[in-house]
Structure formats: structure tokens, C-alpha cells
């Protein structure tokens, strides 16, 4: 689903943010990126989203390369940032409607009008968008209230509704649990499970080791721009992730050798 191969990023001031990062995520997995501040988690997500260019390497989503077709590749991803602010003067519904409209329009362009009947029909209906907001857990009373009056958790829900409306197979979540109260975090976690069960692939960066272990199918630890560990849930089941994390971050354990295929294996001709 998502393949990141030898991704490098060096900023203009010479700071090396990413060095040969390789990640492979299969469809329907939740992949958690762990790491201290400045480890390169957000930089990786920023490059996938196209906020900053990569210095080297490439990214594929559904075999579509970022280098070859960035626009089409981005149509396959939905993004939710740490602080979902959105348009303050719009209600939750209006924010969703706007992003639904541009998503619909973008799909039309990319697929040259071959958009599904369901999408065409449902987006024209107010009820469809309202239902999505309900599905992500937004209370009816707040659907038509200005988003400036929303709590962080409610904004997250609208953010995820926007991602759902885009109907992208890959969800990129940057610190999604940061600042959420326990109830909101629990609700959000349930929502992500639901999305995974529906076949969505989720890549999230987080500092929350407990939630990463509980939710993720694969956990990856990054340090100083490099991937130092990648393990599956099964491999970590009987281990103390907190200790492993600290061992890697404090340099008590050497980085794992990365068993990634070469870049040519991913190129679809």
C-alpha cells in the first residue's frame, strides 16, 4: 500500500532530517511511528503529503510514485494534523462540505468523470455528510455550530470525517492523540479500528507508546532521521515497548538491520 524507499531529507541549513528511511505498509494495517521530537516522524509525513520536497528517495502509494505523479499519489491519501483547526467561521458541516466538494471535483478530474454513482449521488445530499459526521461521533447539536466553539476532540472528529469523505485508502495521522482527553482519545481509537476494519491503511506518528502498542500492527522507532527498529505486534506482544523505546533512544541498543528490498523492485512500468 505505502512504500517509502531510501527517503532522505537535508534542509537548506544543512540539517539532516531523514537518512535512508525505508517503510513498507500493507493494506489494512495500522503503522505507528515512534520517536523523540526531531526524530523525523513528522518530516516523513510532511514529505508524503508534499508539504516539503524530499532530497532523495521515493514514495509509492498503490504503486503510484510521488516523483512520477504527485497529484495522483496525493489523491490516495488523507491527512489529519495534530491540531485540526479548519475554518473557524464555518460550522463542522460547512467545513466538511467544502472539503467534500473539492475532493469530489478533484476525483472527477483525475478519473476524467468516471466517478462512482454512489459518490455522485451521496455528495449531492446533505444527509450523507451529516451521516458521516454522526458516524465519526459528532453530536447532532454541534453539526451546525461554528467550529470555533468545538473542543479539540470534536475538531479531530471533523478532521477524520474530512479524511473519510475523501475516500482515500491511506490515512496519515500526525500526533492524533496529542491533547485529547481520555474519553475523546478512546472514541478516536475506536474510530480508527473501525476504519482499519473497513480496509483503510493508517500511518500515524505518536509519542503515546501505550496506545501505539495497543493499536498498531507494526511499530517503527525513529531516531535522528533514521529507522532504528521495526517490529510487528506479535513480535512485541511479550516485550516491554517502553523499555525497548528508551533503549533505542538512549543508544543502549544498536539499530536493527533493515531488510528492505531495493528501489527497483517497486517501480511499476
Amino acid at each position: 500500500m505505502l512504500k517509502i524507499v531510501e527517503l532522505c531529507k537535508t534542509y537548506e541549513d544543512g540539517i539532516l532530517a531523514l537518512h535512508n528511511v525505508c517503510i513498507d505498509i500493507v493494506k489494512g494495517q495500522i503503522f505507528a511511528l515512534l520517536g523523540a521530537n526531531g526524530a523525523g516522524k513528522s518530516t516523513t509525513i510532511n514529505i508524503i503529503c508534499g508539504f516539503i520536497p524530499a532530497s532523495d528517495g521515493d514514495i509509492w502509494v498503490d504503486d503510484i510514485s510521488l516523483k512520477d505523479n504527485p497529484r495522483l499519489m496525493r489523491s490516495k491519501i488523507a491527512y489529519l494534523s495534530e491540531n485540526v483547526m479548519l475554518y473557524d467561521n464555518f460550522t463542522g458541516y460547512q467545513n466538511l462540505k467544502f472539503f467534500a466538494d473539492i475532493s469530489h471535483s478533484e476525483k472527477r478530474k483525475l478519473e476524467k468523470g468516471n466517478i462512482s454513482e454512489n459518490m455522485e449521488k451521496s455528495l449531492s445530499q446533505k444527509e450523507y455528510l451529516t451521516q458521516i459526521l454522526r458516524d465519526v461521533g459528532l453530536q447532532d447539536d454541534f453539526i451546525h455550530v461554528n467550529i470555533s466553539k468545538y473542543s479539540k476532540g470534536m475538531r479531530q472528529k471533523v478532521g477524520i470525517a474530512i479524511a473519510l469523505v475523501k475516500d482515500a485508502p491511506l490515512l496519515l495521522l500526525d500526533e492524533p492523540f496529542s491533547g485529547l482527553d481520555p474519553k475523546a482519545a478512546y472514541d478516536f481509537q475506536k474510530l480508527l479500528y473501525k476504519l482499519r476494519n473497513e480496509g483503510k491503511t493508517i500511518l500515524m506518528s505518536t509519542h503515546d507508546i501505550f496506545r501505539a502498542k495497543e493499536m498498531a500492527d507494526i511499530i517503527c522507532i525513529m531516531k535522528e532521521g533514521e529507522v532504528v527498529m521495526t517490529k510487528t505486534r506479535d513480535e512485541l506482544e511479550s516485550e516491554d515497548l517502553n523499555k525497548i523505546y528508551l533503549d533505542y533512544i538512549e543508544g543502549r541498543v544498536a539499530p536493527m538491520p533493515l531488510n528492505m528490498p531495493s528501489i527497483s523492485n517497486f517501480v511499476v512500468r
Binding site: S42, N46, C49, G50, F51, I52, P70, R71, R74, S75, I77, A78, Y79, S81, N83, V84, M85, L86, Y87, D88, N89, F90, F98, F99, D101, I102, S103, S105, E106, K109, I162, K166
Partner: protein, 473 residues
């Protein structure tokens, strides 16, 4: 997709409290400007009518139109009827109501109806030229930073939008917003003014619409400036910058223009000019006296022609100095205007002078017209006098006094200059000043618009480059 974002931007702006407050302020100011301008118009019109009646009485007064007396009056009256242009500006630098006495050979203007600082008077120039620039700057100065803060810029980026497209849509939405906040209240203001003054005129309606159209590139300049500032990292700096820019263009540039203009193009003091005028006359007269063995200063009949010629050429020499004084004044004023034109506000005012036939633009044509009229009147007076057998044809100011002296000594029944009535007294009043035709004006307007269009392009290019490089993380 473009329309979706455009509609989103416009809806957000319409919901913005800043916009709602500014719109209400503009509606109130446009309405008040119509009322205030109508009051001023009525007052100026009353003065104009009073002057017109007075001048009409003068024309029918034989003492005034007698040729011999006209030499001494040496005066051409210029009347400019108040027009609806007063709604745009009262043109405080040069009066809307010009009641000028233009002295023969030395056109000088007496100004009426001026008071206070021209910048802060309630009219369309204040609203369109001064206030809306500030409003557009305040509306747009956080457009990008706000989208960046709210994360929506990042979200739109994920939807595959090119940054340039986002920027252009923002710009277009601000320009549409400008039209929304300007056109309805401006039209209401115009209709109210016409109704209050009873001066409905299709020509002026088109002129008002033209000035609204011309204001667009000026608004655009401030929108680009606002967008450019909105890409800065520091919100507080952005606010300081917009206040500084506005003060710079509205106060600092015009005040500096006056100071530097006077330094770069100095003129003499009134006393110095008076002395120069006097010297020019007497130097020439002395020269005649020396050349003609003191006959120019003699009152004897055989020397009259020499005396007349000496006086006439001496007056011409003095008039050259007077003309130089006017030219110095005009040169200094032009220099001040040239420096002030750094400010878009000043440029906009200068363009409005061309549209409405006002201010410095009008002054140049008024001088040409008065010079032509003065020459025409002079030639007609001399021609009419030459047909009078009783005249000694002494065309100079003191001739009548000389004639009295001569009559006393020699019992002459002749007069210095004809005592007939001037045959075309209507020429003594100028009410129509001819300026450029529509094409000529259009060319001048375009020339004045060129700098602001170039500034727009420069700012646009700067904004595009800056936005492309903007870190949106």
C-alpha cells in the same frame, strides 16, 4: 474546483466580523459623503450665482466696459460653475469653485472655499483613495498566515492544489470583495447626491463609474501588499507594517513631498518678486530715457509716442517677471506633485483631476485659456481704439493721467485711449475652459496608471515567489 474555493473564500470573508464592520462603515461614509457634498455644492452654487449676477451687472456698466477704463482694470474674470465632481473631492489644493481674477499678462488665481486638511474630508476621495486601501490591507494581511495556522493550507495541499492557484483564488476573492463593499454604497451615494442637488448628469454618472473602475488597480495594490505581508512569520510585525505603510503613503510621503519639493525647486519670497517686478519696469524705462535723451519721461505732446512706447515695453518687461513668478510657482507645485506621486493615494487623486477637470491638471489649461483670451481682448481693444479719431492710442496704464496733464497744459481735446464701450464685453468673462478630448484624457490616465500597474506586477511576482517557497508545515 476553482469556483468551490472561490466561493469558500468569499463566504468566509462575508462571515468575517472585520468585513461586516468595514462594510457598515463604508455604507455610512458613502451616504454621509453624499449629504456633506450636497451641502457644499449648494453653498458653492449660491456663491457662483451671486458672482455671476455681479459680473453681469459689470458687463452692463458703462464705466467698467469703457476701453480707457478697461486698460486700468486690466482684468479677466474666470468663473467655474460648481459641478457634481465635488462628490469625489473638494480639491482643497485648488478650489472647486474658482472665482479668479486673472490680471492681463499675469494670470494669478484667488482661491476660495478652502479649509482644513484635504486628506480627511468626507468625500469619495477619502473613502476610495484613503480608506479602502487601508481596509483591503487589513482584510488581507493575515489571509495566508490564517490558513497556515488553521492547517487548511496543508489540507488543500494534500488535495493536490497548486500553490499558485490558491494564491490567485485568494486574490480574486479579495477583488470581488472590494467590488461588493464599494459598488452598492457608491451607487447609492451617487444617486442620493444627484437627488439632493438636482444635478443629474449622464456624463458625471459615467465619470463616477470610471473612477470606481480606476480605483480597482489601487485596491489591487493593497491586496497584493496584504497577501505579501500575510506570508510573514510574525503576526505583530505584520500589524505594525500595515499601519506604517498606510501612514507612510497618506501622511509621510505627501508631507515630505512638500518639504523636499520646496528645497529642490525653490521660489523667491513675495517681497523679492515685487522688487524684481519693479526693477524690471524701471530698468527698462530708464533705458528708454537714456536712449531718447529723457524724452520718455517728458509730458510734451511731441514726445507722447516715445513715452507710450517706453511705458508699453516697460510693462511688457515687468509682465515677463510676473510670468516667471507664475512659472516658478507652477514648477515648484509640479515638483511637489512628482514626489508625492510615490504614494498611490496621490496618484489616484491626480487621475481624478484628469477625470473631473480639476486641480493642477485644470490649472494648466486655465492658464492657456486665459492667455488666449487676454491676447484676443487686447487685440480687439487696440483695433477698436485705432478706429477712434479722438484717441491718442496710448495703450498703457497711466495714459489717462498723462492725457489729463497734457490737456491741462495744451488744451488738447484728444483722449489717451478711446472712451468707446468695448464691443464684445462677453469676452471679459471666461466660463468654459477647454481641456483634452476623451482620447487625450484616456492616454494621460493610462500614463498615470502605469506605475501602479507595474507595482501590482512586482508585488504579485514577489507574492508568488514567496508563496512557492513558503514552509507550510
Amino acid at each position: 474546483m476553482n469556483q468551490i474555493i472561490l466561493m469558500k473564500d468569499i463566504r468566509l470573508m462575508l462571515k468575517d466580523l472585520k468585513f461586516q464592520i468595514f462594510f457598515l462603515i463604508l455604507v455610512a461614509l458613502f451616504i454621509l459623503s453624499a449629504i456633506s457634498s450636497a451641502v457644499t455644492y449648494h453653498s458653492h452654487n449660491d456663491e457662483y450665482q451671486a458672482d455671476l449676477n455681479r459680473f453681469n451687472e459689470l458687463v452692463s456698466n458703462e464705466n467698467y466696459t469703457k476701453l480707457a477704463n478697461l486698460i486700468n482694470h486690466r482684468r479677466l474674470n474666470v468663473l467655474s460653475q460648481p459641478s457634481p465632481a465635488i462628490l469625489f473631492s473638494s480639491y482643497s489644493s485648488f478650489p472647486d469653485k474658482i472665482n479668479s481674477r486673472v490680471i492681463f499678462y499675469s494670470p494669478t488665481l484667488d482661491k476660495y472655499g478652502q479649509s482644513g486638511n484635504g486628506v480627511f474630508r468626507l468625500n469619495w476621495f477619502f473613502i476610495l483613495g484613503i480608506l479602502t486601501g487601508f481596509i483591503m490591507l487589513v482584510m488581507s494581511f493575515e489571509t495566508i498566515s490564517q490558513e497556515k495556522r488553521s492547517g487548511t493550507l496543508r489540507l488543500m495541499s494534500v488535495y493536490g492544489f497548486k500553490r499558485q492557484k490558491i494564491l490567485w483564488i485568494k486574490y480574486i476573492s479579495y477583488m470581488l470583495l472590494y467590488l461588493i463593499i464599494i459598488i452598492p454604497p457608491a451607487l447609492a451615494s451617487m444617486i442620493l447626491f444627484f437627488a439632493l442637488t438636482g444635478t443629474w448628469s449622464a456624463v458625471f454618472m459615467w465619470k463616477f463609474l470610471l473612477i470606481l473602475l480606476i480605483s480597482i488597480p489601487f485596491a489591487s495594490f493593497f491586496v497584493w501588499l496584504g497577501i505579501f505581508i500575510s506570508m510573514g512569520k510574525n503576526y505583530r510585525n505584520a500589524i505594525v507594517m500595515i499601519v506604517f505603510i498606510w501612514l507612510f503613503f497618506v501622511i509621510i510621503v505627501p508631507q515630505s513631498a512638500s518639504i523636499f519639493g520646496k528645497q529642490l525647486s525653490p521660489i523667491k519670497t513675495t517681497t523679492e518678486y515685487r522688487q524684481a517686478r519693479s526693477s524690471a519696469f524701471w530698468d527698462e524705462f530708464q533705458a528708454w530715457n537714456e536712449r531718447e535723451d529723457d524724452r520718455a519721461g517728458s509730458n510734451t505732446p511731441e514726445n507722447l509716442e516715445i513715452r507710450a512706447a517706453a511705458y508699453h515695453t516697460s510693462e511688457e518687461k515687468r509682465d515677463v517677471v510676473v510670468q516667471k513668478e507664475v512659472e516658478d510657482y507652477m514648477r515648484q507645485t509640479m515638483m511637489i506633485q512628482k514626489i508625492a506621486s510615490i504614494s498611490p493615494f496621490a496618484q489616484f487623486e491626480m487621475i481624478s483631476e484628469i477625470v473631473f477637470d480639476k486641480g493642477l491638471y485644470m490649472l494648466n489649461y486655465m492658464q492657456d485659456t486665459t492667455k488666449r483670451s487676454v491676447n484676443q481682448i487686447t487685440n480687439l481693444m487696440i483695433e477698436q481704439d485705432s478706429r477712434d479719431e479722438n484717441s491718442m492710442h496710448l495703450f498703457y496704464g497711466w495714459a489717462e493721467m498723462d492725457s489729463n496733464v497734457l490737456s491741462f497744459f495744451y488744451g488738447s481735446d484728444k483722449v489717451a485711449f478711446s472712451h468707446e464701450l468695448f464691443e464684445q464685453p462677453n469676452l471679459l468673462f471666461v466660463t468654459e475652459i477647454e481641456t483634452d478630448d476623451a482620447w487625450g484624457k484616456m492616454v494621460k490616465i493610462m500614463m498615470r496608471l502605469l506605475p501602479i500597474l507595474i507595482l501590482n506586477l512586482v508585488l504579485m511576482a514577489g507574492a508568488v515567489v514567496k508563496f512557492e517557497r513558503l514552509d507550510i508545515r
